[in-house]
Amino acid sequence: MSVILTESEAKALLQKVLSYSKADECEINLSGELRGNLRYARNEVSTSGSLINQNLQVQSAFGKKVGVATIDEFSEESLEKVVRRAEELARLAPENPEYVGVLEPQKYVTTKGFFESTSNASPETRATAVLKSLELTRTQKLTAAGFLENQSGYSAMMNSKGLFAYYPSTSVNFSLTVRTEDGTGSGYVAKGYSDISKLDTAAATKIAIQKSLGSVGAKALEPGKYTVILEPTAAAVLLENIFFRMDARSADEGRSFLSKQGGKTKMGEKIMDERVNFYSDPTNPDLPSSPWSGDGQPQEKRYWIEKGSVKNMHYSRYWAQKNNVKPVPFPGNMIMDGGTATLDEMIKSTKQGILVTKLWYIRTVDPQTLLLTGLTRDGTFYIENGKIKHPIKNFRFNESPVIMLNNLETLGKPERVVSTESDQNYLIPPMKIREFTFSSLSDAV
């Protein structure tokens, strides 16, 4: 049996496992994936590898007593054994007051996240793609360090109420840092796709080379508040701190940036500029994601921030039931609406400002205000009278993405980006922001 099961193979396997169940309720999650990577540094390959993961998880429940067991090989004997073990564990477990039972069958939208091209990528595909990149940096006497990883897999689930879900997907992430030989310039690029045929490592490498050469001779600028243009790669690592924290329970409990005085939450309130829209949509062709969440809830297009106001928060099925509202699954992807401006137009309309291409080492300083700190990296530039004047030394910033999105000037066209902090992919536009707070200088290149 191959590692990546087709829908009918997955269904047959799940039905067989379910037939062993003697519990009140049973839910089975099944997944398989193939990963391959190639890593290089100092213009040479440093490591490469491949990985096979497959996993079957059984959750059995007697009343509110729940047990979970897992296997990674699917022999006839082990399939029955894993069900028995989950049931044994359930009988021994204390009651889980937050267990709400398995879902009835659901309807899901159709999304296309699986591409044969990516699934068929071999070690040679990766080597060829990396060689195209290396040839460019070697010829120009620049030093490259990069990482290419592709993945193909599927996930499926079935439960004792008859729910069945299946979703296959593929992805490729490529990242590259190009440094000048004397270490005075550094540029970066990261690209993520579901379809590997869209990945052009040579074109991506040219972007990193341009930033590397362009960042040589950086001058120091006084820290302070500046208008900034954030390229999507820089914006993503700030915005995802909002995405990850849209949880209703922590807001209700009073320990979230969405909690407010008097014990209420900011649901429905305007918390940022009215041009800000964040939504998740599993069917977006540029960022497809699973049409169902890990517990089988349907994913659909859903606004989280609409016209600057809090539209939705993540409600677990337990928390929703307790509060008598509809459950809202954690999103499978996240998209920010943009405007029409190009990056060039945004630069042209800037009298004095800073172009930030990447941010690094983002950490939460205060979860109450979502104050984040981190630094610019791999190409930061001073803009004067509509033109990039010169590269500047890196800054440390202390800024909250919530405050930042209140100081919004312009939005550009969204593009698919890879978070340099979480590897997660998003669709995010470049954005111009007023009064972004840089608090100190860094000598790092």
Binding site: N37, T47, L176, T177, G183, R249, G294, G332, L370, R396
Partner: protein, 547 residues
């Protein structure tokens, strides 16, 4: 957080959100299964010889084999509830070879003679394929075979033998104590790790090691709903290379500090710390917001450990210095020319930083590293001057040394080993000095305890650190608690502002249990020892904002 974790979070509630990046290696098993014996040393030796012979027949000039069984038990609770208990096991074999002067690596969970021979052949084939890219062949520092050896973390109580119920009871007591003392919410966790590793190499080493680590921790949250404010205080425990005895809370291992504060050396009282945490988190709600400016900082070992980790540990990793981590973690300001000059003042003359993988109870302590090198201690900064780095067998010749530092580690049998940080510790002061003595000499300062927010640039110049609790020091005495504190500095400037270090009686270790590095990312655990230390005139910022 990686992609898979994000996907796993999708169906989960707050518990998962609070631990999005806890790495889990292996498959869930029963707690009893964790106690079952695995292969004995003789069987592992026989299997490793199969691998060594198979690799040699495929043209390997060097081979090392790691047969590993990795066990984890994690317990997660909140308030009166057990959220999750994870018992996981992972076993298999990783084979690393040099063919045509190039590394190749392959791993398999099929630990049979057939599976091993295939795996060795794959490793050799990968090495051959990659040798086409290679410009300079790998040069290994000599390492004579050590024959048959064993090493075990010296534990008193194997944490895996302690019944799960006892662990849950402890955490319920911790949570109850915090709630009784004003906490609105509390999460508490226990992490136990056991690495059963058998290493064999074509040099003639056959090393069987049994390594144990433990980390008890919690977060207490106090809410002021009327004001719409919340504050947290994390445990000031340290992850340790110890067994369950770390949780005995032995009085002789407590270090009394000013104002009733307690530091913990090699024994931790989790309930006592939870009570203190709840009281301190409550005090933080109304604490004075700090006035930004220059302060003399008195840094507790439970805080300073992370500053050492980020500003000395990472920049002196030789692979970073050479550029191997340029695409992710970054490079280093501590370049080879600074080391070669023999006069680069990393810090003041008081600053002596040692690397070691031998300190008892530390996370880095093992008998041999993951390329069979016996572990030792060496200087990184001596009397303030940068004198050495952290290196592996294929790097140490760059430093003109003939013997590896023993810094090679892989987080699992299926990960390839590479340079990882040993324990990096600041030596205590030689003059008798307590924390109280140190505070007496400070006119305008801040005493900082615990690990807070941390961020540092990719070459390790500019950093910003927060903490768990902050006390104002006014004219030699502790005044009230402060809030919204973070300090920013430059590594060299900061270590040169080091003006006093308490003596060995105050020395403790801090630890990082899940330190990430590499692509794909691997974790490692490392300790950092120090005594309370003073730094003069450091820039403190106010982090308070309104949204």
């Amino acid at each position: 957080m990686k992609r898979r974790d994000f996907m796993q979070m999708s169906g989960m509630g707050l518990g998962a959100l609070m631990f999005p990046s806890v790495p889990l290696i292996g498959n869930p098993v029963s707690a009893e299964h964790l106690m079952e014996p695995w292969l004995d040393a003789a069987a592992k030796k026989q299997l490793s010889e199969t691998a060594l012979n198979a690799a040699k027949s495929k043209g390997a000039t060097y081979t090392d084999v790691r047969i590993g069984r990795y066990l984890q038990q994690y317990v997660f609770t909140r308030e009166k509830q057990v959220q999750n208990i994870v018992n996981a096991e992972s076993y298999g074999i990783g084979i690393r070879v040099i063919v045509n002067g190039t590394w190749g690596f392959s791993a398999t969970s099929d630990v049979t003679p057939d599976g091993i021979a295939k795996c060795a052949a794959t490793a050799a084939a990968i090495a051959k394929a990659n040798s086409k890219f290679q410009k300079e062949p790998v040069v290994l520092a000599e390492q004579k075979g050590v024959g048959d050896k064993t090493w075990k973390t010296p534990t008193v109580k194997n944490a895996f033998e302690i019944p799960v119920k006892e662990k849950i009871d402890l955490l319920m007591n911790v949570n109850g104590a915090a709630m009784d003392n004003g906490a609105g919410f509390v999460t508490s966790n226990l992490f136990f790790v056991n690495e059963q590793k058998y290493f064999a190499s074509s040099d003639g080493s056959f090393i069987d090691q049994d390594i144990h680590r433990i980390w008890p921790t919690f977060t207490v949250t106090v809410i002021d709903k009327a004001a719409g404010k919340f504050k947290t205080r994390d445990a000031i425990s340290s992850p340790m290379g110890m067994g369950f005895e770390y949780l005995d809370g032995v009085t002789s291992e407590k270090i009394p500090g000013p104002n009733g504060l307690v530091g913990y050396r090699n024994s931790y009282d989790m309930v006592e710390d939870a009570i203190a945490a709840a009281k301190q988190a409550k005090e933080k709600i109304t604490a004075k917001s700090v006035m930004a400016g220059k302060y003399d900082l008195v840094l507790d070992p439970n805080h300073l450990g992370l500053t050492i980790h980020e500003s000395v540990g990472h920049p002196t990793e030789l692979d970073r210095v050479l550029g191997y981590e340029a695409n992710y973690a970054g490079t280093s300001f501590a370049t080879l020319d600074k080391w070669e000059s023999k006069n680069f003042n990393y810090g003041s003359k008081l600053v002596n930083i040692v690397a070691d993988k031998t300190q008892p109870h530390s996370l880095g302590a093992v008998g041999y590293d993951d390329e069979g090198v016996p572990c030792k201690e060496w200087d990184i900064i001596k009397d303030g001057v940068l004198v050495n780095y952290q290196a592996t067998r294929d790097q140490v010749s760059i430093l003109g040394e003939k013997e590896s530092h023993g810094c090679c580690y892989a987080d699992n049998w299926n990960s390839v080993q590479f340079q990882r940080m040993p324990n990096i510790s600041l030596k205590p002061g030689t003059e008798k000095r307590s924390v109280l003595d140190m505070i007496k000499g400070v006119e305008k300062g801040i005493y900082i305890i615990g690990r807070g927010s941390y961020s540092i640039d990719q070459q390790r110049y500019n950093f910003q650190f927060g903490g768990q609790v902050f006390y104002e020091i006014k004219n030699g005495q502790l005044a009230g608690m402060l809030d919204d504190v973070a300090y920013q500095s430059n590594t060299q400037e900061f270590w040169n502002s080091c003006s006093q270090i308490c003596d060995k009686d105050d020395y403790r270790t801090f630890g990082s249990f899940f330190d990430g590095k590499g692509q794909p990312s691997q974790v490692s655990a490392v300790s950092h020892g120090s005594a309370t230390t003073r730094f003069d005139g450091v820039n403190v910022i106010n982090t308070g904002r309104k949204i």
